[in-house]
């Protein structure tokens, strides 16, 4: 830790403690801001639309899916664009952030070998950048809802809490996957292949009601179903998610954070030999 008048002991075999890592991250808050700033600006530095690409991507998909599915699901889901986007934005945050976090740790590997920074800072900065994009997408969704005259409900005020829960879940998954991907290059490929499959196992594009009863267990056992639901319910259905859904989503995200941290903590001390 680069703090004046501080004594730093680095003991063989000492494991990473959550409290120390949190202190360390707090001491590097400034670096976190720089990393987020870099994430958000560098990516689009040489493109003409720049930051807009972040918004254009889900909007383009929305246009496609609305054309394809809104007629099909007309009875189940009026205002299909809101139905789709309210869930897809959250999904997109999850899948993009997980992918970016793995890339970020690989990309910043040389850096981790040369300066002392908290090991989880690159994962955390991917989450924060993702959340910034997520908020912008949510604003874009609001604009679309106004344009298509979808009803705006007071339950929208619950959305920040939902996003926070989704953020915690994503952080846990990212910690585990980034740590694993440092040791096994296959993990990145598996995630790339797995994410689209997971999308179709989650009711993002289609309503649950069209899933045949014999397959419904897949959707019901998929933790992402609950995380998507707590975002969609207050936006699209205009009511708070059921207590059962909230508890399920909360439990899933806490389990994700805890197991993600345990995996990360186990692997992080040997990162530098593998990066």
């Amino acid at each position: 830790m680069i703090v004046q008048n501080q004594e730093r002991h680095n003991v063989a075999g000492a494991s990473l403690r959550a409290r120390d890592e949190i202190h360390d991250l707090a001491a590097h808050a400034n670096l976190l801001l720089e990393l987020v700033h870099r994430d958000l600006t560098v990516r689009y530095k040489r493109s003409i639309f720049g930051f807009l690409w972040t918004l254009l991507h889900p909007l383009l998909l929305m246009a496609i899916f609305t054309v394809v599915f809104s007629h099909l699901f007309r009875r189940e889901t009026p205002h299909y664009e809101t139905y789709f986007l309210s869930a897809y934005i959250a999904w997109n945050f999850f899948s993009q952030t997980v992918t970016n976090a793995m890339a970020s740790v690989a990309w910043n590997g040389p850096l981790m070998k040369r300066v002392r920074v908290p090991r989880s800072i690159f994962t955390l900065s991917s989450i924060v950048s993702g959340l910034v994009n997520l908020l912008l997408s949510m604003l874009a969704l609001l604009v679309i809802m106004l344009i298509v005259r979808a009803p705006l409900f007071p339950s929208l005020l619950f959305v920040p809490i939902s996003l926070l829960i989704v953020g915690v879940f994503t952080f846990g998954v990212s910690l585990a996957l980034t740590a694993l991907s440092v040791f096994f290059a296959d993990v990145r490929e598996m995630v790339q292949a797995g994410l689209p499959a997971l999308l179709y196992m989650t009711p993002v594009i289609y309503p649950v009601s069209i899933v045949p009863a014999s397959f419904r267990w897949i959707v019901e056992r998929n933790p992402l179903t609950y995380l998507i639901e707590i975002v969609r319910a207050p936006i699209y259905y205009g009511h708070l998610p059921s207590p059962r859904t909230i508890i399920a989503a909360l439990a899933v995200s806490l389990i994700s954070l805890l197991s993600g941290w345990l995996i990360f903590r186990r692997l992080a001390p040997s990162f530098e030999g593998r990066l």
Binding site: I2, R8, V115, R116
Partner: protein, 242 residues
């Protein structure tokens, strides 16, 4: 007080080949792969205000020693203690983002070294002046030459107000006049009572800049003392071997 203390520090790696899931399934997890020791049972203390050179052939563990001292890697055995603020300057161009301008990279690098934007802004002009890249400071780093990047990296690391500075093979680049200014700045550091640890293949530079020298061989300290003595021994050993 000691700026850096190592007590019985070893750093070892499993000598392993590229491991993929497939390989893992085929071979299973074999726990007893041999270890490779990058540092072996090193004990040393560097006092505040000392200037210490580290010499030795490639793969002797010089950079590993700096990394342990900086707290970048955890020792496999023993304890490493660092006191006060320690700034490592290791291998060039790390911590530079190709698409960002020189100015933006100064801020980013400062953040990596634990400094705030305000602290870096206050130093900005001095850093730019010392590095001699005034004309290019607003152009993206990808347009810089290796020498320019080296100068910028050195300027940033030495402008940051640190009690201890660790320099890894940094003086090998840059032209003669820049090297002279680097040497002068390192001497100034020493005069100010800061701690300087310098890894270099250039024994002349070590001789002029450092009072004390450590000689590493195969991860162990084989010489430690006044620079003249250790370097004389080292050179004699080298000419014997050569």
């Amino acid at each position: 007080m000691n700026a850096i203390e190592l007590k019985g520090v070893s750093v070892r790696y499993r000598s392993e080949k590229v491991r993929s899931l497939k390989e893992l399934v085929v071979r299973g997890l074999r726990p007893s792969r041999p270890f490779f020791y990058s540092l072996r049972n090193v004990t040393l203390a560097i006092a505040n205000g000392e200037s210490v050179g580290i010499i030795g052939s490639n793969g002797a563990g010089k950079s590993t020693l700096l990394r342990v001292a900086a707290g970048i890697i955890q020792p496999s055995e023993g304890v490493a203690i660092g006191r006060g603020s320690i700034v490592p300057l290791m291998e060039l161009g790390t911590g530079f983002e190709a698409e960002l301008s020189g100015r933006e990279n100064i801020l980013f690098n400062g953040a990596l070294l634990g400094r705030t934007r305000a602290q870096m802004r206050a130093q900005m002009d001095a850093i730019i002046e010392f590095s001699g890249i005034e004309q290019f400071v607003d152009a993206p780093i990808r347009t810089y030459s290796t020498g320019m990047i080296a100068r910028l990296a050195f300027s940033i690391a030495t402008a940051v107000d640190a009690e201890t500075i660790l320099l890894d093979e940094i003086l090998a680049v840059g032209d003669a006049s820049f090297r002279e200014r680097c040497d002068e700045r390192i001497r100034k550091f020493v005069r100010e009572g800061r701690t300087v640890v310098l890894v270099s293949h250039d024994t002349d530079a070590v001789m002029t800049l450092c009072r004390r020298t450590l000689w590493l061989s195969h991860g162990e300290i084989v010489g430690d003392g006044r620079s003249e003595d250790v370097i004389r021994e080292y050179e004699a050993h080298r000419s014997d071997a050569g």
